[in-house]
């Protein structure tokens, strides 16, 4: 029982003629923007969404809350594997999740940013790290064999 869910419905909100338009204010659904595994076109953004959301829910969510012009949304459910077994030989299930591919309207594009860029680790001058780096490099250089031997080990020879 997940007590954090706020917009749970007892039964799904069954519509009957005359009912007011169903509106959800402050939904307890959260989208996760993910980097696409396979190459996607420039205007496609990939989200992981809760299972209960539909294409229309995502369209309205992004348009009303975040003012993002949405063209078309396609969803699919990714099956989480049930194959792995733990130390007691019981099957361990990875959770299923829903993925949405949102294509933006009005010619907008989006590329997933590089969150973990490569840092140039140049150690500061005169510090311990620099001396250690230099020492390690010298050691490695000493361990290497004579390059004129062409990779042949020391054991062959006189």
């Amino acid at each position: 029982l997940n007590r954090n869910i706020i917009n749970t419905f007892f039964l799904y909100p069954l519509y009957q003629l005359g009912n007011p338009q169903l509106r959800i204010f402050r939904p307890s659904w959260f989208l996760t923007l993910v980097r696409p595994g396979k190459e996607q076109p420039q205007d496609t953004v990939q989200f992981r969404i809760p299972m209960e959301m539909t294409k229309y829910d995502i369209k309205n969510y992004l348009e009303k809350i975040y003012n993002v012009p949405v063209g078309v949304v396609r969803t699919r459910i990714q099956f989480g594997s049930n194959k792995k077994r733990n130390h007691l030989n019981q099957k361990v299930k990875q959770p299923d999740y829903k993925v949405a591919y949102v294509q933006l309207a009005l010619g907008q594009t989006f590329t997933f940013p590089d969150i973990f860029p490569e840092k140039e680790r140049a150690p500061a001058e005169g510090s311990m790290e620099e001396m250690q780096e230099k020492f390690m490099e010298d050691e490695k250089q000493r361990q290497k064999l004579d390059p004129r031997r062409g990779g042949v080990t020391e054991w062959f020879g006189l």
Partner: protein, 420 residues
């Protein structure tokens, strides 16, 4: 006195070794040893053997008749992308341009004068009286469908099929028959209602990621199965709009992503190549196609939902795919295929309508060699000309058609009058 030598009873062949003619010193012509050509094997499990197999197959197809060519090319069934001409995918026209190597040129070729002038300037071959006749025919057809027939309200999402379909059919047949006296090509033409047009081709390749054929190169195959509302097939080919060499400069969008991202789906079934009639039919060249827009295409709804650009994209993608399939099938019927490229351009026209808005498109097929091997040095590109949607009439009120656009009628007439 003869010397009596002791000759043997039986003469061996070599008895007088120096007496034969063969040892006389003459300039004997030296025969060069003739070896058979050294070619790679046909049945070995090697890359050169595979290449030779493909070459043999290509030679076999080149030397066979047209029916055999078609059946050999479409014999093997494998998974292919099914391209639907009427698709709601976003930016479908860019994708289809990439699949068919087509460049889009906005506007129509110079042959068709801009059709938005209000004056009834003379269409070549038609004088003003005839044009007035055509105009009255068009108004009659519009009134018949929308005013005179007591139709019940069409079913949900069946408006195009039940109202616009019959209107377009009567319009097209009326125009064909009345313009046949000015255009001799139409007298020998065939007007098909709801024909099938199919085309199968290969373009691009991918590396198979998984399975027993992993790391092999596989060509991407495409198939179009189209059902235009109606089409006119003629016995002679229409003249080209632009010379072949002029298409080298055109730009075709390059897309490096796989087609299934578009989204486009793969299936395996019969590979068909069909223009609308079987091979021995004399009317094997195409003239004009007419397409109806599907019922789920709501122009106003798309504009409201900030997808105004997709309105034209849909029509362009439809025209592109349908006309490419038709012209490609026409070229195949003449024996041109992937390894034997077309020697003359194949030209067809299309009109896409939803009853009120008409869009006109012209297509010129300059190359059918789209697969990886033949496309490497192929500078030719196919060309598509197209207009934006033009309104034919504003509305029908009190038995009168209000705001009939003469420019659109003129363009329609020009399309019908196109002849070599």
């Amino acid at each position: 006195m003869a010397a009596r030598t002791r000759l043997p009873l039986l003469f061996p062949r070599n008895l007088f070794p120096f007496r034969s003619q063969k040892l006389v010193h003459t300039d004997v012509s030296v025969k060069e040893p003739a070896y058979p050509p050294i070619v790679p094997s046909l049945t070995a499990k090697s890359k050169s053997a595979r290449r030779r197999q493909i070459e043999e197959r290509v030679k076999k197809i080149c030397t066979s008749s047209v029916e055999d060519k078609l059946s050999l090319i479409t014999r093997i069934q494998r998974e292919k992308f099914v391209v639907y001409p009427q698709t709601f995918a976003r930016n479908a026209d860019r994708w289809y341009q990439h699949f068919t190597k087509t460049a889009y040129i906005p506007g129509l070729p110079e042959k068709f004068t801009p059709g938005l002038e209000k004056t009834t300037a003379a269409v070549p071959g038609i004088d003003d009286d005839a044009f007035a006749d055509i105009r009255s025919l068009v108004t009659r057809v519009i009134l018949q469908e929308h005013w005179q027939f007591r139709k019940r309200k069409p079913f949900m999402y069946r408006h195009q099929e039940q109202v616009v379909g019959p209107f377009l059919r009567s319009l097209v047949s009326g125009l064909t028959y009345s313009l046949a006296k000015y255009n001799p090509l139409l007298q020998l033409s065939s007007l098909d209602l709801s024909p099938q047009v199919n085309f199968y081709w290969r373009r691009g390749q991918r590396i198979i990621p998984k399975g027993h054929r992993k790391r092999h190169l596989e060509p991407t195959r495409f198939q179009i199965d189209d059902r235009p509302h109606s089409q006119i097939r003629v016995t002679q080919q229409l003249p080209q709009f632009m010379p072949l060499e002029a298409s080298h400069a055109a730009e075709v969008p390059e897309i490096t992503l796989r087609p299934n991202v578009m989204p486009l789906f793969r299936r395996q079934y019969d590979n068909n190549i069909f223009t609308g009639a079987k091979l021995p039919d004399p009317a094997c060249y195409g003239h004009t196609q007419f397409h109806l827009v599907p019922d789920r295409y709501h122009r106003d709804r798309m504009i409201r939902q900030q997808q105004a650009d997709q309105v034209e994209v849909f029509l362009r993608a439809n025209a592109l795919a349908s006309l490419f399939a038709w012209t490609g099938a026409q070229a195949m019927y003449q024996g041109f295929w992937n390894y034997e490229d077309v020697t003359r351009p194949f030209v067809s026209q299309a009109v896409i309508t939803d009853g009120h808005f008409f869009s006109f498109f012209c297509y010129q097929l300059n190359t059918v060699a789209l697969s990886v091997e033949t496309d490497a040095n192929n500078p030719r590109k196919n060309l598509l000309w197209g207009t934006e949607s033009l309104r034919l009439y504003e509305s029908v009120q009190d038995g009168e058609v209000v705001g009939l656009n003469d420019g659109v009628v003129k363009l329609l007439v020009q399309f019908f009058m196109n002849q070599p």
